[in-house]
Amino acid sequence: MASFWIILTGTLIAISCSLLGCYLILRKMAMVGDAISHAVLPGIVLAFLFSGSRETIPMLIGAACLGVLTTVIIELFHRKARLQSDAAIGITFTWLFAIGIILISFFADNIDLDQDCVLYGEIAMVPLDIFYLASGVSLGPRPVWIGGVTLILIVTFIIWGYKGLFITSFNEEYAKAIGISAAFWHYALMSSVSLTTVVAFESVGAILVVAFLIVPAATAYLIVDDLKKMLLLSALFGTLSAISGYYLAYTMDGSIAGAMATMTGIFFTIVFIIQKIRAQKATQVPNF
């Protein structure tokens, strides 16, 4: 049963991340996703301090705000200070992440978070964190519930905002011309990425959120050109990576999150090589 809960949590997070990742890649914002996943750390630590627990809604909101703030700062440096975008991303997230680490060391006694957990999470602890009703009835692990609610929110967001996200991702100018606010969809997407990052943080940690955000979506993008198919394939690769990652970790006796990230890379490599061979066959002069 324990492995079931771990795989389920990993899958829920993987699907949420893979879906959002499609939009990040199409908008050429993959590294902004990386930056957000690091930069929410101080928000999580501060919310932890003020609320004293991990499960409160204010914590999610606080950290999500910090994620959006990160994109605002990156934009500000890029537009107003004319700093090249890679440097703007690089200095912003390292700075916020360093503050997060310092806060953790500073309040080490009050906070049940450690540096390693920040990087690769504690998904193995999922089955121990049971959600009880007031009457004492067990409803299964809490992270499964949180991950499930997040997934429902993300799927609802993508279905409800499909048109807006679609148009602003491909042609911002056209979107403006027909009265769709590019800024609204940009920040709506960034808030969703921040929210998902925060939720995923305690299970899989900062870096591995990035693996789920970018790699399955990139793998799907190699195969298809259609956004709907890309979303479905991306979710599929996310799920496969989560499941196979668990068994890889089990075999190697290592970090589950690390193994899941490794699996996303293996799927990417396989697809990359197959696509490469197919492209070569297609360009070969037919032999009559």
Partner: protein, 430 residues
């Protein structure tokens, strides 16, 4: 105060190793970082830093020891492979370079974590401390570490000095470098190797995640203070070393404080201050300049309006009420109010019976602006052969910028014209 003196005297050998070690590592990273910054490879540096982890773990698994040289070799090899893969993925598929950076970064790091945790669970006693690579181990640098990493850092600085001119050329214009026969591929290989090496040693100070900051933040800060490469490198190096010293001092005072993150916070603080306040390129000075330009244009447009309104009657000191002014040119009411108040304080206009009049001073200024406008129209018409109905908008913008020297040149070039292309008089002040 005593703490500071104790610290700076470096009498404690441990303080000495940590301080000199981190300063050397940061300085080396800052130098290489300047080139990475100019070649827009800031995030590639981040990817390399993350990708070093599996190399370190594999080196440990294969050699069975924590000998820093083996670990350094492992780190350099996996750093190099990640760099090649980033380039390969973005050159051979439709994925953009930031996506391929993200893929390599997260997958290599995930694999590194998997190996690291597997090593930790294997019960091998000598593995303790391997996880220091994640967040740096500045506080526990030993004299052996400092000797090895320090000499790598010094070798690195030496190579940069040796190839300074070549590196400069390939960072700014590699096509030109190729055309004059420089071995660009070889030089890029050397520069990339230096970057990988600087990252591999720099990780000792701040760890995997924050390494990008050590590389890119000093260069970014320096970029806001100079346009010359050697000055940029110098400033970046000093900032890197200074922040390393400061970070070490903070964790010397408060031993529970991690050194690496404090180095990064010090660096970032300097960089953020530079981005906002650097006199020439900073955000705030730029905004201030834009604002003062806007105000200048507003004031000059108001003076010009007075001139145009009274040009027909040639009574340049007649009065106009606020609503007439507002209707004659599309100002916002608030904008006009503020502009009038400013011009009044400069004695260029005055108010009599609720009507605004130009003063003598104001008339001179108004004539100057109209003159520049019409001279420029004349110039576009006569010299660039633009039709008279195509010259107004251009003149409207440039009239606020032309300096007295340019004005004299225009007059001379056009032989002191009296009429503009629309047959209006060009007003001279006698």
């Amino acid at each position: 105060m005593n703490d500071l003196l104790d610290f700076l005297s470096f009498s404690d050998p441990n303080v000495r190793f940590v301080a000199f070690g981190t300063m050397l590592l940061s300085a080396a990273a800052a130098i290489v970082g300047c080139f990475a910054f100019l070649r827009k490879q800031a995030l590639v540096g981040d990817a390399i830093a993350h990708s070093i982890l599996p190399g370190v773990c594999l080196a440990f698994i294969i050699s069975g020891t924590k000998n820093p040289i083996y670990l350094l070799i492992g780190a350099t090899i996996s750093g190099w492979i990640s760099l090649l893969m980033v380039n390969y993925i973005s050159n051979h598929s439709k994925l953009k370079s930031d996506t391929s950076i993200g893929i390599v970064l997260s997958v290599f790091f995930g694999f590194g974590i998997l190996l690291l945790t597997a090593i930790q669970h294997s019960g091998n006693a000598s593995q303790a401390g391997l996880d220091k690579f994640l967040f740096g181990k500045a506080a526990s640098l030993t004299s052996d570490d400092v000797t090895i990493f320090g000499s790598v850092a010094i070798a690195l600085i030496f190579v940069v000095f040796l190839f300074y001119k070549e590196f400069k050329l390939i960072s700014f214009n590699s096509d030109f470098a190729r055309s004059i026969g420089l071995p660009v591929n070889f030089l890029e290989f050397v520069l990339s190797s230096l970057t990988v090496l600087a990252i591999a040693v720099g990780i000792q100070a701040v760890g995997v995640v924050l390494m990008a900051a050590l590389l890119i933040t000093p260069a970014t800060a320096a970029r806001f203070w100079t346009h010359q490469l050697w000055k940029m490198i110098l400033i970046a190096t000093i900032l890197g070393a200074f922040s390393a010293l400061l970070g070490t001092y903070i964790s010397y005072l408060y031993p529970s404080m991690p050194t690496g993150p404090w180095i990064v916070v010090c660096l970032s603080f300097i960089a953020l201050s530079s981005i906002f306040f650097a006199p020439k390129n900073g955000i705030l000075p730029q905004l201030k300049r834009q604002q003062s330009n806007r105000l200048k244009i507003r004031n000059e447009n108001i003076l010009k309006l007075f001139f145009h309104l009274s040009e027909e009657s040639e009574d340049y000191h007649q009065g106009f009420d606020f609503s007439t002014l507002l209707e004659s040119r599309d100002f916002y009411p608030q904008e006009l109010t503020k502009g009038l108040a400013y011009l009044k304080s400069k004695n260029q206009i005055r108010i009599l019976n609720n009507k605004w009049h130009l003063t003598k001073l104001g008339l001179i200024e108004a004539k100057r602006i109209v003159r520049l406008h019409r001279l420029w129209e004349m110039y576009l018409n006569k010299k660039l052969k633009l039709a008279p109905d195509h010259v107004h908008n251009d003149a409207e913008a440039i009239e606020h910028i032309i300096t007295p020297e340019v004005e004299r040149l225009l007059e001379k070039e056009l032989n002191y014209p009296t009429k503009d292309p629309h047959q209006s008089n060009i007003p001279y002040t006698d």
